[in-house]
Symmetry: C2
């Protein structure tokens, strides 16, 4: 009798292992005052690791950051990408619950302000916004099929870049797959399908012209 219920796959480590940062340069500190540092990270450099003590609030100056968690066997879920202007890295207790890495070369403002009531009231709307984003992403991952997920991702990136006719993706197909709970092959096939249907044009794998925004919007409901 075949029960139809699968149990954990043997391993995934080859496909979604944590980025090897051995080749990346150490971050360089550009500015340094009592409360602020502007630090530049090379592509794939680690900003902080899960379990590290929380010390700071981070703000993206330029570039893109990925926040993720891992399973013991190497399966990875990227929970968020952050772009210029956005905050991340604040936690309720004294240890980071996630990893943060630079996707491309990026500048991060690291802020050491003590968590007083003033900061709390500034942080609360940011935290609530992050919560809404995460919960909306749960709907995408939990209830939408591959094509819908990729469409939702493209729409989101377009809106964050403020241009509904063109998108520049900082991240690889692997990052997109780990953000959407898919494999790189499935993500790639969705892009191909969009191209075949005339929704997008791929100037290169990461440089995309949007031909039919409405089609993408309808797709992700």
């Amino acid at each position: 009798m075949y029960s139809q219920i699968a149990f954990p796959p043997s391993h995934y480590a080859d496909r979604t292992a944590r980025t090897d940062i051995s080749k990346s340069f150490p971050p360089s500190i550009i500015e340094d005052t009592q409360l602020h540092q502007l630090v530049v990270f090379a592509p794939n450099a680690e900003i902080y690791a899960q379990g590290e003590p929380t010390s700071s609030l981070y703000q993206v100056e330029f570039g893109t950051v990925r926040i993720y968690r891992l399973l013991a066997d190497g399966r990875r879920q990227i929970t968020a990408f952050h772009v210029a202007g956005e905050f991340f890295g604040f936690e309720a207790d004294d240890a980071h619950h996630f990893f943060a890495e630079a996707v491309d070369r990026c500048g991060i403002r690291i802020c050491q302000r003590p968590l007083d009531k003033g900061l709390a009231s500034e942080l609360l709307p940011i935290a609530l916004d992050a919560l809404v984003r995460a919960q909306k992403h749960l709907l995408v991952i939990g209830r939408q099929c591959a094509g819908e997920r990729v469409a939702a991702f493209l729409i989101d990136m377009m809106e964050r870049q403020g241009d509904m006719r063109h998108v520049e993706l900082a991240m690889s197909r692997t990052d997109i797959a780990d953000y959407l709970g898919l494999t790189i092959e499935t993500v790639s096939r969705a892009f191909t399908k969009f191209r075949e249907r005339g929704y997008i044009r791929l100037k290169s794998a990461r440089t995309i012209d949007i031909v039919d925004v409405d089609a993408l919007r309808i797709l992700c409901a």
Copy 2:
């Protein structure tokens, strides 16, 4: 040529439609002061709807609450369950982004405190905790298979009920499925598998004895 990429299914409305609350009783107000109301909701009663103006902070006194979002075709994703003591319903802007419903009969303390700096510093850790929970759930839904998801759900419910040998589930298989991004059939088969393997005993569909916690823990990594 078959592209391997699926597009949205025709409809799901029959399976995961929003709960029909036409039969439920109006909520009854038990206590009422300037800042506090204790309101009792019947099973499946709506606490607030997506789009409604936010007015309050909610705390569960007893019972279980589900928070969810819908797609246009009725697909539903439950983003969180809340049990006694937990807060929910605070939002960054002036409209609710989600629906909240009573799973079983439950008492909700509705609080009208103005959002000042004092409240913000109380709320921030709660919001951050909710954010961490949502992001951890993203990993479960995005990267774990059916058996792992159900195991993770059981472990979570056990820990929240403070008893590692027994769980009482307030919610139906439909709710569990919509929380885990599965179908009720798949959830049911996972329970059956756990029973066959001797991990759990089902006294009824919602009354569960845990025989082998470690097996469940290992399963969800």
